[in-house]
């Protein structure tokens, strides 16, 4: 109730010209140094991930038993692990894994969630009631429990991990989209569309949804950090990405054994995980303050 009404308010304030408004005010978004910082950091992390094959000084899987557990040196700026693999290279490739998994999860969650939420909100009635019941079932089970149970069932392959992480995102996007659609649906111009005989599909996808995009973008940004944390928690528990594919969570878990003797094993992947989450949380905050100051998409 609080959520939908807030979104309704939002819908009104960002009526049809959102896209131009967004473009026009991008400069205003960047006028905050914090936003600049977070956008810069995010971009940097994506670049590091994308360019990992170029930047990484060693192949991530290259072992060197003769130089295992080396502390940080000029050769290995973040040290090496138990079998002599370069931590820095693995951290970079870990960024690739974490970010791509998170992006895929968000894409799957967003695409399906927005569709479900939009249809549910627009149609209303029994369909809405049933969809929202199902959503509520999934919302009642904490993300990690659902993900763990699904990974246990499906096995820890990247595809299934993305799937397991997406399910709850779908429900989150569905809820927010539904709320926004309900708000926008009540506006006069939608009634006008109907009066001139536009089809429901056209109204929903060309006139209603584009105006619901604010809270959806905010949610997507906010969830990035969330999903990255979830993925690394799964890996940390041994149920996520499996060795030898590098993943920050697995690396932290592997370093756990040698916490006092070789702290660099878990320090650097942990630090990068922290930085990534910081970047996305700051960005999410900035985007939220900018697009959705009333916090409709807080979930």
């Amino acid at each position: 109730m609080t959520i939908s009404s807030a979104v309704a308010g939002h819908g009104q304030s960002t009526s049809p010209s959102l896209r131009s408004r967004f473009a026009k005010n991008f400069a205003r978004f960047l006028s905050s140094p914090l936003n600049c910082f977070s956008l810069g950091l995010t971009t940097l992390l994506f670049l590091l991930a994308l360019l990992a094959p170029i930047i990484a000084p060693y192949p991530y899987e290259q072992i060197n038993p003769a130089n295992s557990l080396s502390p940080p040196t000029w050769e290995h700026i973040m040290g090496t692990d138990q079998v002599g693999r370069d931590i820095f290279s693995r951290v970079l490739y870990g960024a690739r894994i974490s970010l791509s998994m998170a992006v895929m999860t968000i894409i799957v969650g967003l695409a399906s969630g927005v569709f479900v939420g939009a249809v549910s909100g627009y149609l209303g009635g029994v369909a809405d009631e049933v969809i929202m019941r199902v959503v509520e079932v999934f919302m009642s089970i904490p993300g990690i429990i659902l993900a763990l149970a699904l990974v246990a069932v499906l096995g820890p392959s990247p595809l299934f991990i993305v799937l397991a992480l997406s399910i709850r995102r779908i429900t989150q996007f569905a809820r927010v989209t539904r709320g926004a659609v309900l708000g926008v649906k009540a506006l006069d111009y939608v009634a006008a569309c109907r009066v001139i005989g536009m089809s429901n599909v056209r109204i929903l996808f060309f006139h209603v949804l584009p105006n619901c995009i604010g809270p959806i973008i905010v949610l997507a940004t906010v969830l990035m950090g969330n999903v990255i944390l979830l993925e690394s928690t799964l890996s940390f528990l041994g149920l996520g990405i499996q060795e030898p594919t590098p993943s920050w969570g697995t690396m932290i878990a592997a370093g756990n054994e040698l916490l006092t003797f070789a702290p660099w094993l878990s320090l650097f992947p942990g630090g990068f995980l922290f930085l990534t989450m910081l970047a996305f949380n700051l960005l999410g905050d900035g985007v939220r303050d900018y697009l959705d100051p009333r916090g409709a998409s807080v979930i």
Binding site: M1, T2, I3, R133, V134, E136, V137, F138, M139, S140, I141, P142, G143, I144, I145, L146, L148, A149, L150, A152, V153, L154, G155, G225, L229, L230, S232, T233, F236, L237, G238, L239, G249, I252, N256, L259, T260, S266, G270, L273, F274, M277, L278, N281, L282, D285, P293, R294, G295, V298, I299
Partner: protein, 315 residues
């Protein structure tokens, strides 16, 4: 009136609970590996021989030979009566396992959420009152750092520093053994994130409320600053904060799984992880059911709490 609202809302959560129980059943049907093999408890070094008849016997015993729909009906009926089956690993009743683990987890979650709420709301109100000043900025940075720190990583650092080097708290073990000190580090590891989110919501909600006419009215009555903030501001700012607290309570479970494993706390998280590694289907299902129902009821409680706080909310 209120009673009717409660009844209605409670009835509302029944389909959700039915859904959760069904979901848990479906989960069980998807799980790979032969539950009967797992049930026989293989020696970790694989040095055991299990005959085919043994497997058949156990399959029958577990009801794995019946049609799926019959299995579902009996699962549902048993679950209604609080019977979630027996662990295939050690034959312990799943209900008993969960009852033993549940208080540990709830104790951790409740301590954490109360701590987080206390810190978060105070920080948020503080921030709102100093809006735009450097104190506000510092508070916001603290919250953003808090929200970005991976709990399991923080836990490792806390263990190293506070349990090992400073020897202030136990590294491992439950409340039953060490008393409240056992909760300090686990709570600190996972409280940061919800505290930060609660602070953020409190701040924005408080700012919104403080800009409302009724605050000006209260001031025009000649009330003191803190009376206005605490009696008029805070209660009105609380609704969205409670939403966040409710969500965070469920989200806490995420951090709690890793934290329970790390700190050796015998809660639902440890139970689930063990069950997953041992293919202990019934326990996995049981945990999903219990956790799901708990958080469905948490949502219910949050909704009821709204109506207690806000007389405008009816039905």
């Amino acid at each position: 009136m209120f009673f009717k609202f409660v009844i209605r809302r409670v009835l509302f959560s029944i389909p959700t609970i039915v859904g959760i129980v069904t979901l848990a059943f479906l989960l069980g049907k998807l799980i790979p590996g032969d539950p009967a093999v797992a049930a026989l408890g293989l020696d970790l070094d694989g040095a055991s021989t299990v005959s085919q008849e043994e497997l058949e016997r156990v399959r029958t015993e577990l009801g794995l030979d019946r049609p799926v729909i019959v299995q579902y009906m009996s699962w549902f009926g048993d679950a209604l009566q609080g019977d979630l089956g027996r662990s295939s690993v050690n034959r312990e009743s799943v209900t008993a396992l969960i009852l033993r683990a549940f208080p540990n987890t709830m104790f951790l979650l409740l301590t954490t959420i109360s701590t987080a709420a206390l810190i978060g709301i105070s920080l948020g109100v503080f921030s709102a009152l100093h809006r735009g000043k450097s104190a506000d900025l510092v508070a916001r940075l603290v919250t953003i750092v808090g929200v970005s720190t991976p709990p399991f990583w923080l836990a490792l650092v806390l263990i190293l520093v506070f349990a090992f080097n400073l020897n202030l708290f136990p590294m491992n073990g439950s409340v039953a053994e060490h008393g409240w000190t056992a909760l300090v580090l686990p709570t600190a590891s996972i409280a940061l994130q919800p505290a930060a989110l609660i602070a953020r919501m409190s701040r924005s909600s408080m700012l919104e409320v403080l800009s409302q006419d009724m605050i000006r009215t209260a001031a025009a009555k000649g009330l003191g600053r803190w009376t206005i903030i605490l009696r008029h501001g805070l209660p009105n700012a609380l609704s969205p904060v409670i939403t966040v607290i409710g969500f965070q309570f469920a989200n806490l479970m995420g951090g709690a799984v890793a934290i329970e494993v790390l700190f050796g706390m015998p809660g639902l998280g440890s139970l689930l992880i063990n069950a997953i590694f041992e293919n202990d289907l019934k326990v996995i299902q049981g945990v999903v059911v219990i956790v799901g129902i708990t958080f469905a009821l948490t949502n219910l409680a949050v909704d009821l709490l709204y109506s207690v706080i806000d007389p405008r909310i009816k039905l």
